[in-house]
């Protein structure tokens, strides 16, 4: 009885969705369901709907009504960006491109029946499925920490209320207190992100609380743009930042959220703010769909981002295991356009073009001190492989760093237009 009611509700929801699209009765358009409305999913939905000009029925499933970008959320922490400017609505994707935007959680995928079940009970059939669910955290990767402790020790690695909380904690930290970050092991979302965050926290503390200390507990030997960050920290925030690497036991770290302590290989530190960024894996729906490997990520075909385990499903962005591209919003946006072209080709016989992938990650170290790292990529049989890369240099002059920062603002405005307009 329960099942019947659920499937009835599902039919109703699907019917309502179909009515809102410019479909001709009796004519079935191919259906694409996109799960996740971030850089990968929003871009894929928009490009498929826009370029197919109504020939494909596109449904975008995303729980939140406003999407808060993780990129630039560090700048909000540092006081360089408004929270409101991180948020973007899905209104234009529905109004301009006829995308059915459904605010709900995808809770199950039946790959044989080719359907997605939503938490609200709706069942969405698909001809092609795009999963772009971002990341989830690996349980117990930092012993003592769990999502239940995220109000005491925020991760702030999915933007929104967590970012607000961390900002408030940093700004209200006691005078001369210690901000501690437990940095994540590879691979994780936004490789320079934790270190840009350190820069932004240091920027705030230098102004408000100059005797405060910053402690990074990092299980990695090296990190992204390390030379650039360390040069910038020495110049802008001398003596404030200390990093403990695996050589001093950072790989064996636990926390106690109640006591606000961090245990680094037996050495117990009392801290005032503790930003735990746990180890990561693909968003849960990828795992539930049976598309992930033992490391927790979804392997994809480098030529078009198709799951290696199901040729009707594409996995984009952070959740995918694709090779050399970093897990970034820029990468997800780039991958989405390749997948969108392949999906349109399969469903409407539009022209198929070879994959072109690119990425650039900008980071802000201090006021007007921007740096970047980027590369172009191409598919091989085995993986998406780097063709050629570039990175900012240490010792660059202030004018170039300022131009790089302004370029990052231009990029931000560009990518959100590319996703949501």
């Amino acid at each position: 009885m329960h099942l019947k009611r659920r499937s009835f509700l599902g039919t109703m929801a699907a019917g309502a969705a179909a009515l809102s699209a410019p479909a001709v009765l009796g004519q079935t358009r191919p259906r694409v369901v996109v799960v996740g409305g971030g850089s990968g999913g929003a871009t894929a939905a928009r490009y498929i709907a826009r370029d197919s000009q109504g020939a494909i029925d596109v449904t975008l499933v995303e729980p939140t009504r406003s999407y808060y970008t993780c990129y630039f959320s560090n700048l909000y922490l540092g006081g360089f960006w408004d929270l409101a400017d991180l948020g973007h609505s899905y209104g234009r994707l529905a109004a301009r491109h006829g995308i059915n935007v459904v605010h709900d959680w995808a809770v199950a995928v039946d790959r044989d029946a080719q359907t997605v079940t939503l938490a609200g009970g709706a069942v969405l059939p698909y001809d092609r499925l795009v999963l772009s669910p971002g990341i989830d955290f690996v349980d117990d990767s930092v012993p003592g920490w769990s999502v239940a402790a995220q109000n005491r020790m925020p991760h702030a690695y999915k933007a929104g209320s967590q970012t607000e909380l961390l900002k408030a904690q940093v700004e209200n930290m006691r005078e001369g207190g210690t901000y501690c970050m437990i940095a994540p092991p590879n691979p994780y979302r936004c490789p320079p992100g934790p270190y840009e965050r350190i820069s932004m926290v240091a920027h705030v503390l230098k102004e408000r609380n100059p005797t405060a200390k910053i402690l990074i507990v990092d299980p990695k030997e090296n990190f992204s743009k390390q030379g650039l960050f360390e040069e910038g920290w020495a110049r802008h925030y001398p003596g404030m930042i200390e990093r403990i690497g695996p050589d001093f036991g950072a790989g064996n770290t636990s926390v106690d959220p109640e006591a606000m302590t961090v245990n680094i290989d037996g050495m117990v530190e009392e801290v005032d703010v503790c930003n735990v960024i746990p180890a990561q894996k693909a968003g849960r729906i990828a795992e539930l769909t049976g598309l992930t490997n033992e490391a927790g990520w979804a392997p994809v075909v480098p030529a078009d981002m198709r799951s290696r385990m199901d040729d009707k499903v594409f996995v984009l962005g952070d959740a995918s295991a694709q090779g050399d591209m970093p897990k970034s919003g820029f990468s997800a946006n780039s991958q989405a356009k390749v997948a969108a072209n392949a999906i349109r080709h399969e469903l409407t016989d539009s022209r198929l073009f070879p994959a072109r992938y690119a990425n650039t990650c900008w980071s802000l170290i201090a006021t007007d001190d921007g740096v970047k790292v980027g590369a172009s990529y191409e598919p091989t049989e085995e993986k998406i492989a780097t063709v050629e890369g570039f990175i900012s240099q240490t010792g660059e002059d202030a004018e170039l760093r300022r131009a790089t920062y302004e370029e990052s603002i231009g990029w931000y405005n560009g990518i959100v237009e590319d996703m949501f307009s």
Partner: protein, 233 residues
């Protein structure tokens, strides 16, 4: 500083207008002419009969209503300002050149601006003199790279260009608004092709753009040029 800058411009404009200090005015005009050739002429012409450029021609720009060159595809920001009655009187033009994105957010002028008031004053004096004597010689921009005619004659595959443009539009906005990253919409194809070849050859210095350009074939560049030239169609 901005207020002082404006005052010094007004003082200079007044003096130049009355011909009181011709030696200074002439020197300023020469400096302005050199600046024009270096920074402006790649996008703007001084003759109303010049072939279409990236930006509108600036013949008679002083006191011209904004967004008033017939046939030029202005950004919505400029069209709106023109409709609201913006006229390029000297103080308005001075403010635009100081910070194009700051004065009119969303406009397509991919130019960072000139913070120095005296430098702007020279440019404005040059524009004003050009407006008064249209037959005055216009400095030609240096060609960035010499391309064989067959490369410039390549007809771009627009659909391929639209697909390739996905790599561009992560940063360069499709609506053409420029803020930190230049607008690349509605450029004449030959100009687009020349610029991309200059990046590919390393004659233009931007590491990101060089990386993008180095994996583009001649046909890819032509395709992108064809798409961005007609993006509003």
């Amino acid at each position: 500083m901005p207020e002082r800058a404006r005052q010094s411009w007004r003082a200079l404009a007044l003096l130049a207008g009355f011909g009181a200090v011709p030696a200074l005015a002439n020197g300023q005009i020469e400096a302005g002419a050199a600046l024009w050739a270096r920074e402006c002429a790649a996008c703007h012409a001084l003759s109303p009969d010049a072939p279409p450029g990236i930006g509108p021609h600036l013949a008679g720009i002083i006191d011209r209503p904004a967004a008033s060159v017939a046939g030029f595809a202005y950004s919505p920001a400029l069209v709106e300002a023109g409709a609201a009655g913006l006229v390029w009187e000297l103080p308005a033009l001075d403010a635009l050149i100081e910070n194009p994105a700051g004065l009119l957010p969303g406009n397509r002028m991919g130019y960072a601006g000139i913070p120095d008031a005296m430098t702007r004053a020279g440019l404005l004096a040059f524009l004003e003199s050009g407006a008064q004597t249209p037959e005055s010689p216009t400095p030609e921009p240096e060609p960035e790279i010499e391309l064989p005619p067959e490369v410039l004659a390549l007809e771009g595959d627009r659909e391929w260009g639209e697909y390739l443009a996905g790599e561009c539009t992560t940063c360069h906005r499709r609506d053409g608004a420029a803020q930190g990253i230049p607008s690349i919409t509605n450029w004449p194809e030959a100009r687009f092709v020349t610029v991309m070849h200059a990046y590919r050859a390393g004659l233009r210095s931007h590491d990101g753009m060089q990386t993008v350009a180095r994996r583009l074939m001649d046909e890819d560049i032509a395709a992108l040029a064809a798409y961005f030239a007609t993006i509003d169609q």
